[in-house]
């Protein structure tokens, strides 16, 4: 779990890049062309950098800090990892295009609502991240994963709590699909770890914002950050954020049989922390934090919707209890 110089460099580079380029419509291609971020954790054979989940977690954390509306999470963390789990045919067909930024994709964890019959899928998938725009849709049906062309599916954008993350609804009606040989549980574990990393980045951004504001906002003739009520709140938030970071760093470095445990733990812990810090950030900002113009509510919305995206914290805790034999 040693943090290497390369990992520090990656974090600094991504942060600098996002600070300079956020809002640039060409960002997606530049992420691929200039930094190779889409391929950071994908195999070298398909154009990726072949680094691990730790590196992906660093990128996700940085994206989470700035709440970048981007198909990165869906394309890379969800679909990219799912495809990397598949056989060579699927990999060589789609991964190079994901790596070079020419293909967006996602995974629809739709549970029992989609059924497969003879190479065709029928049913509805809800809450699909970037489901309304992704070029390639990987759809879970039963215990299996199928690839579907985005163009062949009727899809709508859902009106959501978090405007910085698109969620779609897919309607499949005997839609032609290619069955992939990925382990869906593992794909989901990797997805929640990546999401947890994003949550840690968001939580840290909220804490930084709250602390920064507490240093400059003066009331009763002194910065509010000199009052113990605020100080202690910030200290407690740091405690939670650092604990969440420990959970994510461990999960990202975990391989083998312990992955489901690490994933359930990271998902349960980090999602609760992000929501808490996002709420307290608004509280510490007072009236200004409650306004539409201030960024604080964007984090709250991202935090709450991320908390619910792949199961509530309680379901992750229940899963953890099962996995460790409680």
């Amino acid at each position: 779990m040693d943090v290497t110089g390369e990992q520090h460099e990656l974090r600094a580079t991504v942060r600098r890049f996002l600070a300079e380029k956020a809002g640039d419509s060409l960002l997606w291609r530049q992420m691929a062309d200039q930094l190779g971020l889409q391929g950071v954790a994908l195999p070298e054979k398909y154009g990726g950098a072949g680094a691990g989940l730790t590196e992906l977690a660093i990128v996700m954390e940085e994206l989470g800090r700035v709440l970048l509306p981007s198909p990165y999470f869906a394309t890379v963390a969800l679909a990219g990892h799912a495809l990397a789990e598949c056989g060579d045919e699927a990999k060589s067909r789609w991964l190079p295009a994901i790596v070079d930024g020419s293909l967006t994709a996602t995974v629809a964890f739709s549970g029992a609502d989609v059924r497969a019959c003879g190479g065709e899928l029928t049913g509805t998938a809800m809450f699909v991240v970037d489901g309304d725009t992704a070029d390639l849709l990987l759809v879970v049906a039963g215990a299996d994963l199928y690839a579907v062309e985005g163009k062949s599916v009727r899809r709508t954008r859902l009106q959501t709590l978090d405007p910085t993350r698109r969620l779609g609804r897919l309607e499949l009606d005997r839609t032609p699909a290619v069955r992939l040989d990925a382990n869906v549980d593992r794909v989901r574990d990797l997805a929640v770890i990546a999401l947890a990393a994003e949550q840690v980045g968001g939580a840290r951004a909220c804490l930084d914002a709250a602390v920064g504001y507490a240093k400059v906002r003066v009331q009763f003739g002194r910065p509010i950050g000199s009052f113990q009520a605020i100080k202690h709140k910030c200290a407690d938030l740091l405690l939670e954020v650092e604990a969440a970071r420990s959970a994510v760093e461990h999960a990202a470095a975990t391989t083998g049989d312990d992955l489901p445990i690490a994933a359930a733990l990271a998902a349960a812990y980090c999602s609760v922390v992000y929501t808490r810090v996002a709420k307290e950030n608004i509280q510490i900002h007072g009236g200004i934090g409650y306004t539409w113009e201030h960024d604080a509510h964007r984090h709250l919305k991202r935090a709450k919707s991320s908390e619910l995206l792949f199961g509530t914290p309680a379901t992750h805790r229940a899963r953890l209890a099962d996995l460790v034999g409680i």
């Binding site: 240093k215 202690h232 740091l238 650092e242 953890l320």
Partner: protein
């Protein structure tokens, strides 16, 4: 060094198992002898002081090996070092002590032959430590010490009390403090145990009445004691977290077993709480390892090390309180009652861990420190500058 980590683990485990001193005696005096005999056996076997330099009888283990050490030690349910010397005074002596002081004090401390207790707090100087008033006036080559200390753990079994005393003016605050080692058996030292809310006498109050202490017992410069308070071997803190993580891993497993025996693990609310503790006990371990990685990579522990003490304190309080809930009506029974579950350990733990957010700096002071030193928030203008 050809031994692998796994071989080291097995060799250590074999030693700890074969030399295990057996069940803890109930009688207090017997217990002290039992503990001292164990610490001596540990030292003589070459298994004491995992992070200590070899020159002072320690093992000077790599971080990875320290992790293994603390895990095995906690699993084996063995007595901890006596007093607070090994964890608190030793890093100070190693960093600031003279060669003579190192030679004289360190090995006997580690072997448990000489027990050390920390005399920092005073009735009016706890959280506000620079307000301390115990004086040490120079008389030739001795200091004459007068004053009172309080909340001193293990002072009643201590041989040496490492103290902070005022050698400067009354107003000098932290700039007039010296670090002095006082013989607990010297004339003029009176030690009185204080009964705490568990019914035990864990702490003592100490009175110094014209106690003559050789100047040679001062560590660091006269009036230069304050910076010594914060000394810790960087990795000592990380090792402490690892050690607590290993201990609480075992305690949580025992609590889960207790809940299972009482048929509660099918209750979703109980499962949810237990899963919460499971997460936190694991995070404790990850944080310890992360801190170690930070020390290796950057030469210093990162922000997680400053929050980990509070993290553990809150965890152990909540864990024990929940354990009492798990006991249901049996949670009302004291240790002395024959029907008490597991000799009343959970109820005792519930009471004992009230001290976790008070001792060695209250949680409030820890939060101030975290907020100011890690997050850079401004000091309270009502607090004197440091």
């Amino acid at each position: 060094m050809s031994e692998t980590d796994e071989e080291f683990r097995l060799r250590l485990r074999a030693f700890l198992t074969s030399s295990h001193p057996g069940r803890r005696p109930k009688d207090r005096a017997d217990r002290l002898g039992w503990q001292k005999a164990w610490l001596a056996a540990l030292f003589d076997g070459g298994f004491a002081g995992p992070s200590w330099p070899r020159a002072y009888g320690g093992m000077e283990l790599s971080f990875a090996r320290q992790v293994i050490y603390h895990e095995e030690y906690a699993k084996a349910r063995l007595p901890r070092p006596l007093g607070t010397g090994v964890s608190i005074a030793a890093p100070t002596i190693i960093t600031y002590g003279t060669d003579e002081q190192k030679d004289r004090y360190l090995r006997p401390m580690l072997r448990g032959d000489v027990v050390w207790a920390q005399g920092y707090s005073e009735p009016d100087a706890g959280s506000d430590l620079p307000a301390l008033r115990t004086t040490a006036s120079r008389d030739g080559d001795v200091y004459v010490v007068n004053g009172q200390k309080v909340w001193t753990s293990a002072a009643d079994i201590a041989d040496i009390i490492f103290t902070l005393v005022r050698t400067g003016s009354v107003e000098s605050r932290q700039d007039g403090i010296s670090y002095l080692l006082i013989d607990a058996h010297a004339p003029g030292v009176t030690i009185r145990p204080l009964r705490d809310l568990t019914g035990d006498a864990h702490f003592c109050e100490i009175f110094f009445d014209d106690v003559r202490v050789p100047v040679a017992n001062r560590v660091g410069a006269e009036n230069g004691g304050w910076p010594l308070v914060r000394t810790s071997l960087g990795h000592e803190r990380a090792a402490g977290v690892m050690n607590q993580a290993a201990t609480y891993r075992r305690v949580l497993d025992e609590l889960i077993e207790l809940a299972r025996e009482r048929g509660l693990t099918s209750d979703p609310l109980v499962r949810d709480r237990l899963a919460g503790f499971e997460m936190r006990v694991r995070i404790m371990r990850y944080t310890g390892m992360r801190t170690i990685a930070d020390i290796i990579a950057r030469g210093e522990p990162g922000p997680a090390s400053s929050t980990s003490r509070l993290f553990v304190a809150l965890f152990e309080q909540e864990l024990h309180e929940f354990a009492v809930d798990v006991l249901g009506p049996y949670g009302v029974l004291d240790r002395e009652d024959p029907h008490a579950v597991q000799r009343g350990r959970w109820v005792w733990g519930f009471l004992r861990t009230r001290a976790s957010t008070i001792g060695a700096g209250t949680a409030e002071i820890q939060r101030n420190t975290i907020a100011e030193q890690v997050l850079g928030l401004p000091r309270d203008p009502g607090m004197p500058a440091r």
